[in-house]
């Protein structure tokens, strides 16, 4: 089932470039995402219940059959996240593209009508982007993983540049250059990894690396981890390599921001987890765990500092993504139950943040500005959007019941159990700062006193563009209340394999 998962979005992406009819192309986007989700569900179900024709999860752990493309528990989890997000995003995008066609967005600063990129290019890149992300989750070869991650960068760059505008161009350039150079360092890491295994005779195939981890050259493996961590960490948005992230997230269309934040950052995280598992198998867990935890905590601190005094609500969401990536890295660094929490956090953060970005697109459509100070009393103009906006705030900051809360709680509990009170204290303090900073923004935007602009047209909220966010939020709440046994099992297996 791996081949259809890879080929379907790839072929559909190529097809989207030549389809001339707008409605047909949007249909193609939506149906490809539905088929992809269907295949993904089939893959998850097939592998978990071990039915004929699917590789059961245990088969890959031993490193018996070297395969370049195969799904282990970790890959399967991230594939599920990506596919689910893309399902929501494609539905949102088809309405978004139609709305942009009727009424190209107006830029509040420049009074400048967006001159949007051709829709065919946008849709084609969106689908190819999905194909590349699927390849990332399926790769069992570190070289292929690298190539797939770089491909995601290149395919998402045109998406960020959808509004043909100076600022989006600037964001695209920074994204392209910083991420490409970062990923080049990861390639260097791959070289070190290959050199570390020269004596043991392993290539860069993950199963072989894990099986022969004991024979890897330790100093070279450490160098490999550092380079791969910096490379994929740049892509993941860990501070201090995060500088491209707020720009790209704030300038891209809402649906692209949602995919970048929810799916792409996770793919980079997967790259780090892969090399981390090799290092852990070689007995370097203390070394890698320390680095992951340190940079994770530093990202949370950076996000908290930049959150205060933030003026642009999409940038604010971007910094919140940096915070969550920091928490994921921290959880992965601690290991054990915190690793489980980190993976649960990856899932729930993706859903909650994608929902928030979808809603931010509606806020932008209603208010025509990204400045926080100019959005007041949103609930009067767009009550349903405002309700979702507020709900998203409660979920993303980790108020119970939600999957985000559960993941943060698990990670914090692990720090207490290890007796690392200073770490727990710092984390709690900066989470509180983040909560306060975001609360100020969200509450003033939703409730503050509204000044009606002259000649303001009444705004009708498109229900179809609210639905994906609503469904994602409900799923996040559901995750906090009840974790189905199969999902718990999958997370457990992923946490064990990626330890």
């Amino acid at each position: 089932m791996i081949l259809p998962l890879l080929l379907l979005p790839f072929c559909a992406g190529l097809l989207a470039f030549i389809v001339r009819e707008d409605r047909l192309r949007r249909g193609l986007l939506v149906w490809t995402s539905r088929m992809h989700f269907f295949f993904t569900a089939l893959q998850v179900w097939g592998q978990l219940s071990g039915i004929h024709g699917f590789t059961p999860l245990q088969a890959l752990q031993g490193g018996a059959a070297p395969a370049w493309f195969a799904f282990d528990a970790l890959g399967l989890l991230f594939l599920g996240i990506t596919s689910l997000l893309f399902l929501g995003a494609s539905h949102y995008a088809s309405y978004y593209l139609a709305a942009e066609k009727r009424d190209p967005g107006e830029d509040a600063e420049g009074l400048f009508v967006f001159n949007n990129a051709p829709e065919a290019v946008f849709t084609g890149c969106l689908l190819l982007f999905l194909a590349a992300m699927t390849a990332v989750t399926a790769s069992r070869h570190m070289g292929l993983l690298w190539a797939a991650v770089e491909a995601t960068t290149l395919l998402s760059a045109p998406l960020i540049y959808f509004h043909r505008h100076k600022r989006s161009l600037e964001a695209t350039w920074k994204y392209l250059l910083i991420c490409s150079v970062g990923i080049a360092l990861a390639l260097m890491g791959n070289m070190f990894l290959g050199a570390a295994g020269l004596k043991a005779g392993g290539g860069l195939e993950l199963g072989g690396l894990l099986a022969g981890a004991g024979g890897l050259d330790k100093p070279l493996l450490k160098a490999a981890f550092l380079f791969l961590f910096v490379g994929y960490g740049t892509k993941m948005g860990l501070s201090p390599f995060h500088t491209w992230l707020p720009d790209a997230h704030s300038e891209a269309p809402a649906v692209v921001s949602a995919l970048l934040s929810g799916a792409l950052l996770n793919c980079a995280f997967l790259g780090i987890l892969r090399v981390n598992s090799v290092c852990a198998a070689a007995g370097l867990a203390d070394f890698t765990g320390g680095i992951l935890a340190l940079f994770g905590l530093f990202s949370v601190v950076t996000a908290a500092l930049f959150m205060l005094g933030q003026r642009d609500y999409k940038r604010m969401l971007a910094y919140s993504s940096i915070e969550h990536m920091g928490i994921l890295s921290l959880g992965a660094g601690l290991g054990g139950a915190a690793m489980f929490g980190a993976l649960l956090g990856a899932l729930s953060h993706s859903l909650a943040k994608a929902g928030l970005f979808f809603t931010s697109g509606n806020v932008l459509a209603a208010e025509k500005t990204k400045r926080i100070s100019e959005v007041r009393g949103l609930w009067r103009r767009a009550p349903r959007t405002a309700a979702l906006w507020l709900a998203g705030f409660f979920l993303i900051t980790g108020l119970p019941p939600s999957g985000v809360f559960l993941s943060k709680f698990l990670i914090l509990r692990e720090t207490f159990e290890r007796g690392q009170y200073w770490l727990a204290g710092t984390l709690l303090f900066f989470l509180a700062v983040l909560f306060a900073g975001m609360a100020k923004v969200f509450i003033s935007m939703v409730f503050g006193p509204r000044e009606e602009k002259e000649g303001g047209k009444p705004f009708t909220e498109p229900g179809a563009m609210l639905l994906p966010a609503l469904l994602f939020f409900l799923l996040v709440i559901g995750l906090g209340l009840y974790l189905p046994a199969w999902l718990g099992g999958l997370l457990d297996a992923a946490a064990g394999g990626g330890l």
């Binding site: 070289g143 491909a151 290149l154 760059a157 250059l177 490409s180 070289m191 300038e251 003026r311």
Partner: protein, 221 residues
Amino acid sequence: MHTFAELMIVLIILLDMALAVTGSLSSCIRLVAAQGVVAGLLPLLAAGGATHTRALVFAAVIITLKGVVFPWLLLRARDRSGARKDVEPLISYPASILLCLGAFIASSWLGSRLPLPESGVAWTVPASLATIFTGFLLITTRSKAITQVLGYLVIENGIYIFGLALFVEQPMLVELAILLDVFVAVFVMGIAIFHISREFDHIDTAELSELNDWRRGEYGK
């Protein structure tokens, strides 16, 4: 044959130095192309007489890409953008070459300390590290978007040589995927440069500074 490969390594280092002091944009593009070609030839020379078809095909692909396609794309981007013909460095040329020399000395020291497998060709590791550093130098101290792409390519050359020094054999498919990525990267960056020159009337990246968190200018009032 090894002496010839070592000569090539010396050539790589000399090209790094030349890149640090060259002022003309088109010469820079040609120097990077030359370095790519030399790097592509290295595995053939290092292997001595016994070369496989696989190595030959691969070297041919690399040389065509780095020696012909990339310079053509970049020269086109330069002409289209109507940019000035020099690289406009942010630091002086003597400072550039001093940094480059310093990097070479540091890489020689580092290369002798790294616990790497013994390479048949001397100086490969220092040369690759120095090349990577030169790439970073080009990215950080030159103000044009096009020189940043050149820097990226130089880093890529350096990493390629580094891989040769370490004997990391990747499967053909992976090597080709990596090359494809580099190709698409240069292609997409070329398009981006074209758009930047159209929007801003120049390709000076210093002007790409409207997006940040602290400026209280017109954007953040």
